[in-house]
Every structure is written in C-alpha cells, then in structure tokens.
C-alpha cells in the first residue's frame, strides 16, 4: 500500500507542493480545522479585550462627566484618520486574501505590503498621540497634571484604560505586522497556491479582528461625549 506520505517519521514537513499534513485526510478538512482553530483563538481575544471593556463600562457608568472631560483631551482628527487608515489596511488585507484565492502570488505580496504600509501609518499616528499625551502630562501616575481638581482621580482612570486598551491593541498590531512581513517573504517565494492558502486567510481573520477591536475602541475612547 504505497501512500503519498513519507515513512512515518515524527517530523513531517508540509510544503507548497505537498500541503496536506499527515494528520489530515484532505485539504478541505485541513482548511476547515485551521479556520475553526483561528476562530476559537479570536473568541479568546474577544474576551481578552472584553475584560478591559468591563472595567471601562463600570468606571464610565460611575464617572460620566469626568470621562467625557478626559475623552475630549484626545485628538479627534488624528483618531478619525487613524480609524480610516486601519479600515484601509483591512481592505488591503481582504484584497490580499482575494488574490490568494486566485493563486496570484505577486498580488498577495503587493497587498500584504500595502497592508503593512497602512499598519505602519497607524502605529506612527498612535506613537505621535502617545508622545502628545506624554507632552501634555496626561500619563496617569505621579506626573499626571489635570486642570479640574474635581475629576483628577477618574481622569487618571480614563487614561489608565486608554493606555491599557490602545497599548494592548498596538501590541496586537505589532505582532500582526511581524506575521505580515514573514508572510510577505513566503508569498514572494510562491508558498501560497489557490489550492492551499489557509495561512493568508487566517492572517486576514486576525487582522480584521484587530481592526474590529479598534472599531469599538475609537468611539468608546475618543467619542465619549463631544456634544
């Protein structure tokens, strides 16, 4: 009984020409497992950010005015531009996955590079905003300066959650950018074919998820009450 798999060595390398892993029977099963695994991981990410949203919800409920005041300190124009940039990167990521479905390696590489450009732009704007907060002494802790003594406590809470939420989001972006870079090299090498490109699809899921987190973060942090 000959079989396409090499003799049962513990380590069995899959490659572009032979993507079917030994523990799977067919590529559809392998793709479905990869997608289900990714979505399970995204469920954990939803609850990861969810825990911080719970803290946000409790304190915004307790100190509505203080949080509105603190939220107005954030630069809305840069926030809006940043959201647009991230939505743009989501578009280019989706196009990269679309290219992968058609097996066009060069197209994948191009749109992955575009996604990285948008991602870098987002992180750049974010870094500027962090510098701006540092400059304005809005980093919670001993160096925190706040005009209205009434809300100096809750304002620090707001900025604590601002930095924890956007910080975790930025870390997820950086991890995403690193993965995109690796994937860019592999795409140029032609590792992704129309028949097998689960890695690109999962990268897309991850990137879109990080974008969805920002879709919630932007209104909750920047738009508490701009009326």
């Amino acid at each position: 009984m000959t079989n396409p798999h090499t003799p049962a060595m513990a380590h069995h390398a899959t490659s572009a020409k032979n993507p079917l892993a030994i523990q799977f029977d067919n590529l559809e099963q392998q793709r479905f497992a990869a997608s289900l695994g990714m979505w399970s991981f995204l469920a954990t990410e939803i609850l990861f950010f969810g825990g911080a949203f719970l803290g946000y919800a409790v304190y915004r409920n307790w100190y509505p005015h203080a949080w509105a005041e603190a939220s107005r300190q954030l630069d809305l124009t840069w926030g809006t531009i940043n959201t647009a940039v991230l939505l743009g990167s989501s578009l280019t990521m989706a196009l990269a996955v679309d290219e992968a479905r058609q097996g066009k390696s060069r197209g994948i590489a191009f749109f992955l590079m575009l996604t990285m450009v948008f991602g870098t732009a987002f992180l750049g704007i974010k870094a500027y905003e962090y510098w701006h907060k540092w400059h304005e002494h809005l980093i919670p802790g001993t160096s925190f300066v706040w005009s209205n003594p009434a809300t100096i406590g809750p304002a620090q809470l707001f900025f604590s959650f601002y930095f924890v939420l956007t910080g975790c989001h930025a870390v997820h972006m950086i991890i995403g950018m690193a993965l995109l870079l690796i994937m860019w090299f592999k795409a140029r090498r032609g590792d992704y074919t129309a028949e097998w490109h689960a890695a690109v699809e999962n990268m897309g899921l991850y990137w879109h998820f990080v974008d969805c987190v920002w879709v919630f973060l932007f209104p909750l942090l920047y738009l508490v009450d701009r009326a």
Partner: protein, 586 residues
C-alpha cells in the same frame, strides 16, 4: 497489526468482537514497521524536545506536571507541619504566607488546570477519535514550551523572595501594599494561561474535524465530551484572567490607580474580573476528571454508561452555567444584596448537572460486573469524595451560611474535596487506566490498590476535620490560631502526612513498572474505544489502518455486526461521506 484480543485477559464474562471495523483508506501508513512505536521511534533528546507527536507532548507534560505537583505538595506538607501548633513557630509569618501562596499558585495553575487535559487529553483525544495526531501539532508543542516558560517565571518569583498575596492576588494588597514578587508571579500566571488556551484550541479543532468515519457525536467516548466542554470553558474564561493580570500588573508597575479607591477605583471590580475566570477554572479542573471516571466506570463495570446523553449534556451544561455563578465568591464583599441573591440562585442550578452525573455513574454499576482494581478504586473514590465536595458546595451557595463560612477552613475543605478528592483521584485513576496504553507496561496491581486506599483515607483524615474547623470559624491563611482549634489541626496534619506518602507510592511503582512491568497487550482491560484498538504503546501515527466506528460507545453487551454496507449514516463534520467498502472513494 495484532489481532483484536479474543480471550478476556481477566476472569469473567463472555468475549465479543470489539465494535470497530477495518478499512484501509488511501492514506494508511505501511511505513510503521511492527515493533516501532512512538517511544522507540527515536531516542535522542532532539526528537523529544522538538516532537510534534501528541503522545510525546503528553509525556513531556506528564513529567513537568509531576514535578510541579510535588513542588506544591512540599509547600503543603511544610505549612501543615506549621499548623500543628497554635503559635506560629515553625516558620515566620512571611514565609507561611509565601508557602500557602506558592501552594495555591502552583497547584491551581501548574497542576490542576493542565493535568488531565494536557497529559491524558493530549495523549488520548487523537487516539479516541481515530486521528493520526492533533489538528495543530506544532501549536501543541508550543503549548508545552509556554507552560515551561510560565513555570520558570513562577519558580523564579518563588526562589527570589516568593509571593505572599495568595493565589487570588486580591487588590489593593497585591497592587499597592504587598512588597513581594507579585509582578513575576503575575507574568508566570499570564503566560501559562496561553498554554491551556492552545491545548483547548487543539482539542476543539480535532474533535470537530478529525473524527474517524462513523464516529458521530453521540458515539464519542464521554472522555471526549468532557474535554470538549472543558476546552470551551478554557477558551471563554482564560483570556479574562489574562487581562485581569495585566491590569494588576500595570497598576503595580506604573503606580496607576485602576483598582485604587484613592482615585475612585473599585477593588471589587478586580474580584469580579478575577472570579469570572477563576470559578469556571474549577470546572476546567474537575470536568476532565469526570470524563476519565466515565471511561473507567463503564469499562470495569462492563456496562454501557447509564444515561450517556445525560452525562454528555451535563458536561456542556456545567460549562455554560459555570460562567454565571462567580459572584458566590463575593457574597460578603461590598457586592449588592440583590446581585448576591441572583448569584446564589444560579449557583444552586449549577449543582444539578453534577448531581445527574453522580447518579448516572452509580446507576452504571447496577447489574454490571464490577472489578475492583486500582483504576476503579480511584474512580469510585472520585464519586464518593466528589459527591461530598459538591454537596458541601451547597452550603456556600446558600447565601446565609456562606456569610458565616466564607474565608474559613470550611471553604478550604470544600474545594479540596473537589480538587484533591475529585480531580487528583480522577487524574491518578486515568494514569493507571491508560498506563498500559502509554507505556506498554502493566503497573503492579497490588501496590496500586494499596496506594489508592491509603490516599482515600489519608485524604479524608486531612480534610474532613477542616469542615468542622470551618464552621467553628477558623479563618483561612492564618499561621497562628486560637488554641481550641489545635486538635482538629493536628488531625488534619496527620492526614496530610498519610496523603503525602500515598502520593509517593504511585511515583515509585509507576517508574518501576517502566522497566520491570509486565508487557501489556493492546487491550489489557478489554475495553471498547478506539485507543484500545491499536498497539500499546501506539505507533507514531496511532493506527496502522484507519479504524471505522460501527456502533455506540461502551458497547460491552454481546453485539452482532450490522449487515455489510449499512453503516455510518452521519458522517463526521468535514469529511466526505465515508461509505465503507468502496475503496479509495474518499
């Protein structure tokens, strides 16, 4: 390929053809020469440290988890000795606090949560569903490395001064007032959380997509149902612990007030976030052990598990209801009275699925042919002690009694009855039940039973007096107590030493059996289930031929194979319909 065992290894009833057919799909592995298995496939360290074989990752976990179990146990023996006397005289207050914190953190995060899923789950889930490996073997290895990294952080935290906040890290003590290595321990706990997340993702993907042909959901062994439910709880709970630990770490590292009342923060918010994970975590710890018990009871009672569907859905019900009840840990903090009543009611409901399981296990013994060997002793011990653990949980769910017994030794006794009486007995039962399959060797039956009985009585002597201590009002985590509690504490310490010896025995004879144990055939207990249809120890890719499941699980009654061709109607999720007999049409 050894032919199915026709003669019953042990004395007793009729023989029968095991309920598994044979088919050779195009992807069979003639490469596995006879005599080659996952253990002797390769001997160098590289093949172990970089293995993607789920069985080897299971063994790696077995070794590291045993190390942590005895580390945590040593801390327990130390402070049990301290508690022999009312005065705090064996160790200083600081070291006592560090000891119970180390015991808590190591036992909860580094033993109980990973034990059954990472050792037995990793090893058996692919075997039981008829797959060649877990869905993501590399992730599985990464899970072990993450576990080791988390362990290193925690051990470094312990060695360089220790942590004295208790395993619950309550603020504001952990974030502002405590001055021990809270940060290092927090990072350790944060990292080890991802290890169980990866195990959960693996189990979910494997159970959904890689079941053998004919293995529909209601033909799955209950071990798989329990691990599937546990994986859901891990997935939906662990990340909340991750963000909680980050918030405490940020508050402590940058002197920022997230839970600090001085800035208007709320220390009870930390408790909400912490217990949202940590109560479901107790179900992560006990559900897999329940899965193990279902397997053992059914095999050694030679009976199909009574109410299979009820036990399966009870596991899922526990997983879901487990997320609604965390407030019963906070009845006496500033939580509102109405929320307390809601949590008390929901906590009552979560007791029902556990009750259903216990009754079903007991009913499985009825009209069975019960063999009292080691694994069965552990399983029956599990049922007895878990019943007491579960029922004493009702005292804590009843809000009026909890006000009195909260943070006393009544609580310590309750959760040890479930964790040690339940999870550890289940884990040891599983280790003994599948030891022949994992190592190809039989353990010494006599010594096994001695250890099981010793553990059962040592356990009861250790923790039953603590119920009485609890209602008398002895608070938790005290190294210096009022004199009238001494008698019960001495009894508890005596029990702890017996329990300690009881745990050392299996360590001894199991290692001994690796070298000198009788070689175990493919199916020493003549159990149903796919893991018993391959060699012991199994070849690297589990099966020489892809098994096909023809009937329900645990079919120990006499059974005739269905007419040829009329076979699995409900193909597993992602396969094309696998009709046996038509070769190559896959």
């Amino acid at each position: 390929m050894s032919t199915p065992e026709s003669v019953m290894k042990l004395s007793g009833t009729e023989t029968h053809e095991p309920a598994v057919g044979r088919v050779a799909p195009h992807s069979a592995h003639a490469g596995d020469q006879p005599g080659r298995n996952y253990l002797n496939a390769d001997y160098n360290l590289w093949s172990w440290l970089f293995t993607t074989d789920h069985k080897r990752v299971g063994i790696l976990y077995l070794i590291s988890i045993t190390l942590f179990f005895f580390l945590g146990g040593a801390a327990a023996v130390l402070f049990r000795l301290e508690l022999m006397t009312p005065r705090g005289d064996l160790v200083k207050a600081e070291s006592y606090n560090k000891l119970f914190t180390m015991h808590g953190i190591i036992m909860v995060f580094f033993f109980l949560i990973p034990a059954v899923p990472a050792v037995l789950g990793n090893f058996l889930v692919p075997l039981m569903v008829g797959a060649r490996d877990l869905a993501f073997p590399k992730l599985n290895l990464a899970s072990w490395y993450i576990y080791i990294i988390g362990g290193v952080f925690t051990i470094v935290a312990v060695l360089t001064g220790g942590v004295d906040t208790g395993w619950t890290f309550y603020t504001p003590y952990s974030s502002t007032y405590g001055n021990t290595n809270v940060l290092a321990a927090a990072v350790g706990v944060f990292v080890v959380g991802f290890s169980s997340i990866l195990t959960a993702v693996n189990i979910i993907a494997t159970v959904h997509t890689m079941r053998a042909p004919g293995l529909s959901w209601f033909r799955l062994p209950l071990f798989i149902w329990a691990h599937y439910a546990t994986s859901l709880v891990i997935l939906l709970g662990t990340p909340v612990l991750a963000i909680t630990v980050i918030l405490v770490g940020v508050e402590r590292a940058f002197r920022v007030g997230i839970f600090d009342p001085a800035l208007g923060g709320d220390p009870i918010l930390f408790q909400h976030l912490f217990w949202f994970y940590s109560h479901p975590a107790v179900y992560i710890m006990v559900l897999p052990a329940m899965g193990v018990v279902s397997e053992i009871i059914s095999c050694f009672a030679r009976r199909r598990v009574f109410g299979y569907k009820f036990i399966a859905f009870a596991s899922l019900a526990i997983a879901v209801l487990g997320f609604l009840v965390w407030g019963h840990h906070m009845f006496v903090t500033g939580q509102s009275m109405y929320a307390g009543l809601v949590f008390s009611f929901l906590s009552m409901l979560v007791a029902i699925p556990s009750a259903i399981k216990v009754f079903n296990w007991t009913a499985t013994l009825f009209k069975g042919s019960v063999l009292w060997n080691t694994a069965m002793l552990y399983a029956l011990g599990f049922i007895g002690l878990f019943t007491m653990g579960g029922l004493t949980g009702l005292f804590l769910a009843t809000i009026a009694v909890d006000v009195h017994v909260h943070d006393t030794y009544f609580i310590v006794a309750h959760f040890h009855y479930i964790m040690v009486g339940g999870s550890v007995m289940g884990y040891l039962g599983g280790i003994h039940y599948w030891w022949p399959k994992m190592t190809g060797r039989m353990y010494p039956e006599g010594w096994g039973r001695v250890a099981a009985i010793l553990i059962f009585f040592g356990f009861n002597l250790t923790f039953f007096p603590q119920f009485v201590l609890g209602y008398l009002g002895m608070p938790r985590r005290v190294h210096d107590y009022v004199p009238e509690f001494q008698i019960l504490n001495v009894m508890s310490s005596a029990g702890a030493s017996i329990l300690g010896i009881g745990y050392l025995l299996p360590l001894g004879y199991l290692i001994w059996s690796l070298r000198y144990g009788k070689p175990a055939g493919a199916n020493p207990w003549d159990a149903t289930g796919l893991e018993w249809q391959t060699d012991s120890p199994p070849p690297t890719h589990n099966f020489h031929e892809q098994p096909v499941v023809l009937t329900d699980a645990y079919l120990y009654e006499p059974w005739e194979p269905p007419a040829q061709g009329h076979l699995p109607q409900t193909p597993p999720q992602a396969h094309e319909p696998a009709v046996v007999g038509s070769e190559g049409q896959r």
